[in-house]
Every structure is written in structure tokens, then in C-alpha cells.
Amino acid sequence: MTEAPDPKKELIEHLPAMRAFAMSLTRNSAAADDLVQDAVVKAWSNFDKFEPGTNLRAWLFTILRNTYYSLYRKRRREVEDPDGTMAGKLSEKPAHDGHLAMNDFREAFAQLSDEQREVLILVGAEGFSYEDAAEMCGCAVGTIKSRTNRARKRLAELMHLEDELEMTDASTMAVINGKPAA
């Protein structure tokens, strides 16, 4: 009786995060769920190659992104933005409480390249280390670092963030730190 956790049982715990990652890659909820389904099927038939004790989420995310780049990226060009996530224009500046309007942020995020969105989710939202992200994306750690920096910079530009922050920095951060999101 060994107590090694069964990755097949643990898989379901990672599905919400896989959906969120897929959503940020495809920017389309129907395509995102199809992508997750494809990745789950692929993972299931490859669980014998998963090393127990290693990071299951990183392993699943790697499968998901590889599936996206091999299948979905091409396919997406044929479907023109059915959710309208990219179509909106950026209008508002950050709200005075320092939190950006969620829709504006989504729209700015959607304008980044696939690689930029991917790295921001892995490093910024999921909190993977640069090293883990590099392994997942099959590129050098330095590439991940510079890609992350460029992506953050681009996002700030799209959101007109810089000037705003300089003026209200202290109070902004106080509000952000004091008030949990929604």
C-alpha cells in the first residue's frame, strides 16, 4: 500500500485552472473548453509518462499549451473573435481605487501576443518560477524573463498605466493591499 497520489484522481482539481489558462490562450470560452477536453484526453493516455511527485499542474499546462500551439492557433484565424473580446476599444483610465476596470484589463490583455499572454498567466497569475515557465514553454529562462517584462510593459502602455500610477502610487497601493478583489 503506497500512498503516492493518483494523478488521474487529482486531475479534476486542476481543471478550473486549465480552463482559465485555455481561456487566456484562446480568448474564446467555447474554444477554451474544447482545448481543455483535448488536453485532458491527451494527458489521460500519457499518465504513464508522468513522474509521480513532480508538479502535475505544470505537466498538464505543458500539454495544454502544446495542444494549443499545434492545433488551435491555426484554427483560430478562421473564427473571427466570436466572443468579441478583442474588438473593444480601450477607453477608461484605471478607476481611482487603483483597480483597473475588469473589462478594460481583459481587452488590453487580449491584444498581447500568444506568447505574452501565456507568460503572464504562468508567471504573473499562476506564480510559476521563471525556471518552471521556461521548461513548460521549451525556451531559455532569459527568454521568459524578457518576454515577461515586455508583456508587462505593453500591458501598462495599453492601459495608460504609467502616468496614473506616478501620481497616486501610495494611496493606490494602500487600497490594493487593503481590499481583496470582488
Binding site: 488521474k8 486531475l11 479534476i12 481543471l15 478550473p16 485552472a17 480552463r19 482559465a20 481561456m23 487566456s24 473548453d33 481543455v36 477536453q37 485532458v40 484526453v41 489521460w44 493516455s45 487603483g98 483597480h99 483597473l100 475588469m102 484589463f105 481583459r106 490583455f109 503572464l120 498567466i121 504573473g124 497569475a125 499562476e126 506564480g127 518560477s129 508587462r152 500591458l155 501598462a156 498605466l161 504609467e162 500610477l165 502610487d169 493606490t172 497601493m173 490594493i176 478583489a181 470582488a182
Partner: protein
């Protein structure tokens, strides 16, 4: 998770918003299709180990 990498405040604000958008999807209820999918995968596997299965791979 809360690693410090010499972030600027701006980076922190961006990450903060990233996490808000990301977690709003993470917190959505899981569509039924995924529970069904996992059931199917387990079912198929049981069929394979028990009798002879038809797997494509």
C-alpha cells in the same frame, strides 16, 4: 507564490489584476462535460483492463 523578484509597483499592480481576471475564470463552476469526460475515460480504461479494449492512441 508570493515571490519577490524586485518587482516595481506597476508590475505588482499588473499581476494583481492578472490574478483577478484569471481567478474569475478559475472560480467558475466546472461545466458538466468535464465530469462526463472523466467518467468516459475511466469507463474506457476499465473496459480495456477487464476485457480486450479497442484503443486507438
Amino acid at each position: 507564490m508570493a515571490k519577490k523578484r524586485g518587482h516595481s509597483k506597476l508590475d505588482e499592480q499588473i499581476d494583481d489584476n492578472l490574478r483577478r481576471v484569471y481567478s474569475s475564470t478559475v472560480n467558475e463552476p466546472l461545466p458538466d462535460r468535464f465530469a462526463k469526460l472523466l467518467d468516459e475515460l475511466r469507463e474506457r480504461e476499465r473496459g480495456e483492463t477487464g476485457t480486450s479494449g479497442e484503443e486507438d492512441e
